[in-house]
Amino acid sequence: MPKVKPHRTSPSLDMTPMVDLAFLLVTFFMLTTKFAPEETVVVDTPSSISEIKLPESNVITLTIDAKKRVFFGVDDTKTKIQALQRVAAKYGVNFTAAQAKEFGNLPNIGLPINQLGSYLDVDKEERKQLNSQQPGIPIDSLNNQLIDWVLEARRANQALFKKPTYIAIKGDGNADVPTVQAVIKLLQERDINRFNLITDLENRPVAAAQ
């Protein structure tokens, strides 16, 4: 008796629809992704159960690291450049168009305004070396440049987009409280009372959720 051979189906299947879909998604994600620019300072944020997301745009980020340094950043390039021009005018410092453009590409800065020019002149690789030595923006009462940055950025954003700005505070877990409180107090004095503290997500504990 001859052996019954099982009917062999071809192992290849039509992948065309799948590939179509895959490429559609690839294109979609490629176009929508906005790559995060390289941070000047790396901070390890504490975690919380809050699931609220940071707004997409009009955000001023104040980064506070463990060495008590404060960094300032705005998300929009145009706002950033306009804020730079206004703050520069206030402190009597001049920036060339090339320097302003370069500034627009930086995620955040932590330098007093008079040192900013020379920092913008050096090229990218060299700047990376300098990043760890940035002293932070002065916040003491005699020389308070941070509040000028924040106020000018708010004004510039209002003029450009007619939208209010959100203040996000990105503090390192090991940052000390007096620095954070000093920053909050400064803004409170200028009637900025709403803050977003950037945190990592952690799971809500089960027992406490009653």
Partner: protein, 178 residues
């Protein structure tokens, strides 16, 4: 699948040469691999781009015509954030200058689930609607501050305030030696 057949033996007869039909199927596997690799990459990078935030609303700047809100002694609870991740707490007010108010008893705990969270929840059961005053000392870390604000969310504590630590409370910690 995708092999292109080599020249088949086209006999020795001088017959009409027919154009060999090429297979139209090509092996798409590597392309699909790449497509999915990119897909995964972009999907992951987009989702993680937006950080989470915790909202903090501070009171409006004090003007002269608005008085401080008075808190009843029985409602008040103070949490002091100390160094080395310690959380001190006491019930009632700490006013050494006022002899009618008894000196509060300072206790110490930590930020773990059965530390300060238990304390707050027990207090909520004993005393409805407590008002919690959070006072981070100079030695506290920002992480502690976020943790304690987070505990307020976890325990559904509605009334709390982030205030500066007064000298009396610093002295209280020192005296207690905890």
């Amino acid at each position: 699948m995708g092999e292109i057949q080599g020249k088949a033996d086209s006999g020795g007869k001088g017959g009409k040469k027919r154009a060999k039909k090429m297979s139209t199927r090509i092996d798409m596997t590597p392309m699909v691999d790449l497509a999915f690799l990119l897909l995964t990459f972009f999907m992951l990078t987009t989702t993680f781009a937006k950080p989470n935030v915790m909202q903090l609303t501070m009171p409006v700047k004090k003007t002269d015509d608005v008085e401080d809100t008075k808190i009843k002694n029985s409602q008040a609870m103070t949490i002091l954030l100390g160094k080395d991740n310690k959380a001190y707490y006491y019930y009632g007010m700490n006013t050494p200058s006022d002899p009618t108010v008894p000196k509060p008893e300072l206790k110490v705990t930590n930020f773990s689930a059965n530390g300060i969270r238990d304390v707050i929840m027990t207090r909520q059961r004993q005393q409805p609607e407590p008002i919690i005053l959070i006072k981070p000392t100079e030695e506290a870390k920002y992480k502690n501050m976020v943790d304690i604000l987070d505990e307020m969310n976890i325990t559904n504590q509605k009334k709390y305030a982030l205030v500066k630590v007064p000298k009396e409370d610093v002295d209280l910690i020192k005296e207690s030696g905890l």
